[in-house]
């Protein structure tokens, strides 16, 4: 069985109707088994997502205020450090995905406090052998859904690049939190989000009507 043939029967496979030859193909094809894992993850995550609504301006203001309190954004650059257009161009742009991620996190925490671990004491968390995997954001799920029709090798590359961009964001975010006055790390965070934005742009490009 070839990858294209397997992709055609994916919906039936996900519903539990599968043949031995499809099982055999999965065991030998990493790309298709990764795709299946992604789709299962998307399917599970989608169940827990609540119908999204456009947040009110007040919520956006509150998010901005929270980001300022956490030191992830600042009012002004100190003198003597020239980042001019480099930083000003992206200063607001990177806020959008970050704010969206926090908004989604807030919604999840409000509706599923037990699952989010808010009521668990720290001591009990330490006894857990491995930390639970961070849930994929709805934007990332959307990106993987968008590229689901692409050839397996290309999908795998999008997934790997997404992981790389998220890793950059995590590193920069953690460092920026440790030292909110570190302009260097703020710049890194902006660049990390720029990379992720590029991933979205390239994924969406061929999905637009009239494009191939």
């Amino acid at each position: 069985m070839k990858c294209l043939e397997f992709e055609r029967v994916l919906p039936e496979y996900l519903e539990g109707n599968y043949l031995p030859e499809q099982q055999a193909h999965l065991q030998t094809c990493a790309a298709c088994s990764n795709l299946l894992a992604d789709l299962k993850l998307i399917s599970e995550q989608a169940k827990s997502l609540i119908a999204s609504h456009e947040p009110s301006p007040a919520l956006w203001n509150a998010l901005e205020e929270r980001l300022r309190r956490e030191g992830l954004i600042r009012q002004a650059q100190p003198p003597g450090f020239r980042l001019r257009s480099f930083s000003s161009r992206w200063r607001l742009a990177w806020l959008v995905p970050l704010a969206a991620a926090i908004a989604i996190g807030t919604v999840v925490k409000l509706h599923y406090p037990m699952k989010a671990g808010d009521t668990q004491p720290v001591a009990r968390q330490e006894s857990i052998p491995a930390p639970p995997a961070k849930p994929m954001s709805s934007e990332d799920l959307q990106l993987l859904t968008t590229v689901a029709e692409r050839p397996p090798a290309q999908r795998a590359k999008y997934r790997a690049n997404l992981d790389d961009a998220n890793s950059f964001i995590r590193d920069a975010e953690q460092s920026a939190k440790q030292d909110p006055s570190d302009i260097f790390m703020q710049q890194m965070l902006i660049n990390a989000y720029e990379q992720k934005q590029m991933l979205y742009d390239l994924a969406v490009y061929r999905s637009e009507p009239g494009e191939q």
């Binding site: 980042l83 480099f86 050839p151 260097f184 710049q187 390239l202």
Partner: protein, 283 residues
Amino acid sequence: MRTQRALRAATVLMFAGMAFGTSTVRKDLHFRVGKHPTVSINNPYGPITVRAGAPQQVVVVAMLHSDRVELDQSQSRNRINLVSHLLPGADSISGLVEYEVLVPPDADVTLHADTGTLHAEKLHGDLTMEGVNAAMEVVDCADGHVHLKTLNGNVNLTNVRNGHVEVVSMNGDVVMTGVSGPYVSVNSNSGRIQYDGDFGGEGEYNFISHTGNIEAMAPPYASIDVLARSNQGPVESDFSLEPKHAPFISRTGSAFTGTLGKAASSVRLFSFSGKIHLKKRQN
């Protein structure tokens, strides 16, 4: 017996001829344009080469490698749009199209490809390239903005002058030779950033990576204000820089700052965990 053999040979030849005839189709397109035209090409699979040609005309030669891909073209006044339209079942082999394009030197050019090499040469307008795995080459271009975005393709910029250069790359290496201008920015994840030039044009040069190494080579007469820092990787400079105030606490081995000459250009080399090396050109 001889007749049968002759018939068999003729049949084979006929099928071979049919296959040959349909495997590659050449399309020649000519467009009349005015000053400063815009040319956009979207080719999922295959290389695109764009060179400066005669003014006021765009000449396109496209080689389509199967009948599973079509060439859609449109012209709206000074704007030309070319799309390799993939038909059902097309893949990276049957959907392959090779473009050779001549545009007026002042044309604004936008190229998009998933695979294949994107090559632009001797252009003076704005240039945008986007690709997933496409390698990108920009040679002898000046006066226009150069914006490149790639996930895995390598980027080579050679002799690019007097324009804004912005490159965003995930895993591809970015190699710049003789690149200068008022603004040169490279944002890379794990790809290597390599610069060999004079940091001229009283410009702003920002090279940032997550894990990729950054290597910048400048001549002894360079006039720069340098700030280099790697959060987890080593930093190194071949120059004896004049000390200056740093906006962060300079830790030995992970950061340096200083000026060279009249400090006409600003150079920022930032990496999270990559190695940074500012090299001095020997000749």
